[in-house]
């Protein structure tokens, strides 16, 4: 099915597969265009701040920074479309074909398969969130045991899925305002302006803190997680973040006896 083994060994250590090269490349395109958009957009949003003008000038000034912004926006929109097609194809290859092979291709099964995809939120996520709060408020000393995709990762995944449909069309409307004015009134631009600037603020504030906490600031990740480059998690990371999946993968690989106990709050990280 997948050309990647769920467990590989490197220097005697177990590594657990997470992202294919294809997905990693998409992530690189995603974050480079978002970063470019942020540094060519925010000096404009906060033009009156002292840092705005030097940064904007560095990015090409009023002449070229908008061009960079629009180019990066186009890439991001392109990626959005590409990725949507990408998972649709994957869904067809993996789920629909499987159903076909097993001769179970009914609409209801398709819906069921659709909702069982790894990025779609499910009941387990709700359980995990409740468990997490129990853990955070000291009602239990055991962190939640996440499946292959934790609810936080799902949130991260769906953030662009709600952000880009707001930011993208608004950006396009502001970009092609003259042409679009023939089919829509100017006040749409007022709405687009608020959508574009405020959703961008939300996205950037979220990315620079919450997402970066998950992959940069958190003690076990600092200075940076490596999974976006290698595509694999270490055993410790796996135990810490995806214990349920870890157990599942280990059992599937016939390594049930070697399953390690779940550990608490980074205590096994050699700190």
């Amino acid at each position: 099915m997948s050309k990647y083994d769920p467990i590989v060994y490197k220097d005697g250590k177990r590594l657990f597969y997470r992202f294919s090269a294809h997905q990693r490349v998409q992530h690189v395109v995603l974050f480079s265009s978002v970063l470019l958009l942020a540094i060519t957009g925010f000096p404009l949003r906060h033009a009156e701040e002292a840092w705005a003008k030097p940064l904007y000038n560095m990015m090409g000034g009023t002449e070229y920074a908008p061009l960079i912004h629009r180019a990066a926006g186009t890439v991001l929109l392109g990626l959005f479309v590409y990725h949507t097609i990408y998972w649709m194809v994957k869904f067809y290859q993996n789920q629909i074909c499987k159903l076909k092979r097993e001769n179970r291709l009914t609409p209801w099964n398709i819906v069921k398969e659709f909702f069982s995809q790894e990025m779609v939120p499910n009941k387990k996520d709700l359980v995990d969130i409740v468990h997490l709060w129990k853990y955070l408020l000291y009602f239990t000393n055991r962190p939640p045991r996440h499946e292959r995709m934790s609810w936080r990762e799902k949130f991260d995944y769906f953030a662009p899925y709600w952000g880009i449909p707001i930011l993208g069309p608004a950006g396009v409307a502001l970009w092609w305002r003259d042409e679009l004015s023939h089919i829509m009134p100017g006040i749409v631009l007022n709405a687009a302006y608020i959508m574009h600037t405020d959703e961008a603020l939300l996205a950037v504030l979220f990315l620079f803190f919450v997402h970066w906490y998950n992959v940069h600031y958190a003690p076990e990740k600092f200075p940076a997680a490596k999974v976006w480059l290698t595509g694999y998690l270490t055993e410790d990371e796996m135990i810490h973040e995806h214990y349920a999946d870890y157990v599942k993968v280990m059992i599937a690989a016939g390594l049930e006896e070697e399953i390690k106990p779940q550990h608490f709050a980074g205590e096994r990280y050699g700190w």
Binding site: L201, L205, F209, Y213, Y217, P219, F222, G266, G270, W271
Partner: protein
């Protein structure tokens, strides 16, 4: 040991990160809740403000204007100057603060007010003469003052300003059409001093500044009599009669030795003969325009 150290580093890092989290929440707050377009607190000074007296308005205006600047962008050149309400002509330079002068601390740099005919001229001199140059004369038996330039920033003895020579060069040059001499912006002032073991000590040196500053900070605590006493001490070196215009603006041994202080010949001639002197002698009856063309540089000769 290493393990414990690691644990400590871990805890410190986590605590630091918690602090960062709190800061981030604080940092985000105005971004999220600040309603778009914070109104800039532009206080109103125009006449419609009836509640305030004119004086109070003036005060508020002066304080608010203090740091206001005006930038004029010509594309190839940016003119950055202090803003002065109602001024039409450009200033084009910054009035440099004189940190070393004791007098300016209280009297400011536009102190002359009495003689209507010459007050502006006297104020003009504060740009390059320390107050004590004119307002403090050596006592009868003591040695004569020696004059030196001092740096407005540091108060230390400075070299003779090179700009003076530049003015001279401009005079000599034929290509003066679009070049302008820089009068008075030397970053330095002439002040009197006395010789002590081979070195020149300025009158304003030593403890004088500390004295004045102490007085300024503690004057609220002083009784009225003590205040008067202190003021007397601070002003003890001020002469009753200041140096008169003609004592400097004369050809023969001017009180301030222009040549020694780096003034070039043409400029000295201007200061000690035709220009300045004619002005001084005739300022009451002088009604003949264009008579006083000094040998100096003008734009269109």
């Amino acid at each position: 040991m290493v393990k414990r150290l690691k644990k400590l580093v871990f805890k410190l890092y986590v605590i630091g990160l918690m602090a960062f989290t709190v800061w981030y929440g604080y940092f985000m707050f105005p971004l999220i809740f600040g309603f778009e377009g914070k109104e800039e607190a532009a206080a109103s000074f125009k006449k419609g403000d009836k509640e305030n007296t004119k004086e109070a308005q003036m005060f508020a205006k002066l304080i608010s204007e203090q740091t206001q600047r005006k930038q004029t962008d010509l594309g190839y050149r940016l003119i950055d100057q202090p803003y002065m309400e109602g001024r039409f002509h450009h200033i084009g330079f910054n009035i440099q603060k004189d940190n070393a002068s004791i007098c300016v601390q209280c009297h400011g740099n536009v102190p002359h007010d009495q003689s209507k005919d010459i007050r502006s001229f006297l104020n003009m001199h504060t740009f390059y003469l320390a107050c004590e140059t004119c307002h403090s004369l050596p006592e009868k038996d003591s040695q004569a003052w020696s004059f030196r330039w001092y740096d407005k920033e540091t108060g230390e003895i400075a070299n003779n300003p090179k700009d003076l020579i530049k003015i001279e060069d401009l005079y000599a040059s034929k290509e003066t059409k679009r070049q302008y001499p820089v009068y008075g912006n030397y970053g330095a002032k002439i002040a009197p001093g006395y010789e002590q073991s081979g070195e020149i000590k300025f009158l304003h040196g030593n403890n004088e500044m500390a004295f004045t500053e102490r007085y300024k900070t503690e004057q609220e605590l002083l009784t009225p009599e003590k205040k008067s006493q202190m003021k007397r001490i601070i002003h003890r070196k001020v002469s009753k009669k200041p140096v008169q215009c003609k004592q400097c603006h004369q050809e023969k041994k001017p009180y301030v030795p222009f040549a020694e202080l780096g003034y070039p010949p043409t400029r000295i001639r201007e200061l000690t003969t035709v220009g300045a002197v004619g002005m001084i002698e005739k300022y009451k009856t002088f009604y003949m325009p264009a008579l006083l063309k000094p040998g100096g540089l003008e734009i269109d000769e």
